[in-house]
């Protein structure tokens, strides 16, 4: 017995949906930041390209932790103030030192040479964290016509209030659309 076309497409759709829904079930849990909250918590909203990185020990909350400092080149400022330097260090939790690795899920996962939109929380003039970890990181990937669009960070946590979250508002947007949205949200 063969499936009718409509029934077949429904079955495929349901299967894809269930597969995708279930796929994230093991993720960490975070409160979804709205666009306004993401902007309020950030000092810079920029397009940046990672250049290189190194991991080192840092003391966070009295604990020794491995962090990875990523040198990025600022390509453009989309909202908020422009960084004073053309290059910044962006710190993410986790990394490898010698034979010891530390892994912290839910972090922004930047790729060398590939531009991203980043919302940054500075802790010094040259060192920033990504605001909301993966929630403040949007890789820029070309669509079918070659236009760069914001995509969700690969290791985004499961979000509380996702429909209201910045990741929902920004995903799929072009840089021009993003600039408009951020301008409106910041007013």
């Amino acid at each position: 017995m063969w499936l009718g076309r409509r029934r077949f497409l429904s079955a495929v759709g349901a299967l894809v949906s269930s597969t995708l829904v279930e796929r994230i079930a093991g993720a960490s849990l975070a409160r979804g930041l709205t666009l306004a909250e993401l902007l309020r918590a950030s000092a810079h909203a920029v397009v940046a390209t990672p250049l290189d990185a190194h991991s080192e020990w840092a003391v966070l909350g009295g604990q020794r932790r491995i962090v990875t400092d990523i040198r990025v080149r600022i390509e453009d400022t989309l909202a908020l103030s422009a960084p004073a330097q053309t290059e910044l260090l962006v710190r993410v939790l986790g990394g490898i030192i010698g034979t010891l690795g530390e892994r912290v899920d839910g972090q922004a996962t930047l790729v060398a040479g590939k531009p991203s939109t980043l919302f940054l929380t500075p802790v010094s003039p040259v060192l920033s964290y990504v605001t909301g970890a993966a929630q403040g990181h949007y890789p820029l990937l070309p669509d079918a016509s070659g236009v760069l669009r914001l995509r969700p960070s690969p290791h985004l946590p499961t979000l509380l209030r996702k429909t209201e979250a910045a990741v929902t508002a920004l995903s799929g947007r072009t840089l021009a659309e993003t600039r408009e949205l951020l301008g409106a949200a910041g007013r």
Partner: protein
Amino acid sequence: MTRPPLAYLALSMVLLHAAGVGAFCRARTCEPANPTEDCGIDAAGCTTVGNPLHWSTGCVTFAVQEDGSYRSGIDVGTALDASSRALAAWLTVDCAGKDHTGPRDLADLPSLVGGSLGPVTCDQSRYDTWRGNANIVLFRDDDWPYPGGNDLFATTVVRFDTASGEILDADIEINTANYLMAANGGDLGVDLQSILTHEFGHFLGLAHAGADTTMQPNWDGIGTELRSLTEDDAAGMCDAYPPGREGPVECSPQYGFSGKCGAAPERPDLGCALVHAPHAPHGREHGAGLVLATVLAFGTALRRTRLVRCRRRW
């Protein structure tokens, strides 16, 4: 008889995608924090380069920081109970995919046992070589020490050997500085056991998956439904710890157990409180005082439990 080959080819591709690409991700030794590492992230968002992270000792233990959370009104006993239930959810998945309402066959359980070592004084996430360690669940009531990360309800740090992927230590930090947690899933806070269930997935070596999709659950933060694992969670657990795996069972943390930060190994009061023993351990030793405890929510499954004695390292 006519066939619609294109349609069935498409259906086959979807099925292969579901089964082959995998609806879960294993964390691997390739560290995605470093942008110069090509970790081969696939279409599902999974890292494909490096060895999968795993506990190789056949047994995993945790402890809870003794202060619990005064801000959320959660004492250490309540936190131990929620943590035990959360870990047990993973250790008692049915790898044969049978009806979960019935008793589970021991041979179908993951080849990992585990449980609680009780309360500890150490209030830091840390890993010491040549000192005692503990895998600690701790509450951050006063300060969440990760700039830009206040939105996270919790975070899990997994420390591993970069060559083998063996997990050496893991700690779960709960962000009670920014969020109220509730032990009963009520509307006065986020359900602690739900948070812990997900964090224990990372603790066991599973990673986020499928974040490039927008099909995430519409979770409102209320209720207890996230305590339950999905079939994909179970598949990830069974992939990491397949039933029937033979090997020694070692319950002590690396370099022995210590409930104090950076201290020499000590003898825990409680011993190992094991959830189950799906495979026969080699080299059983007789550790006095070791306790086989039941985990409250899984009494049916645990009736089939076999006794495991932990070999001590001190």
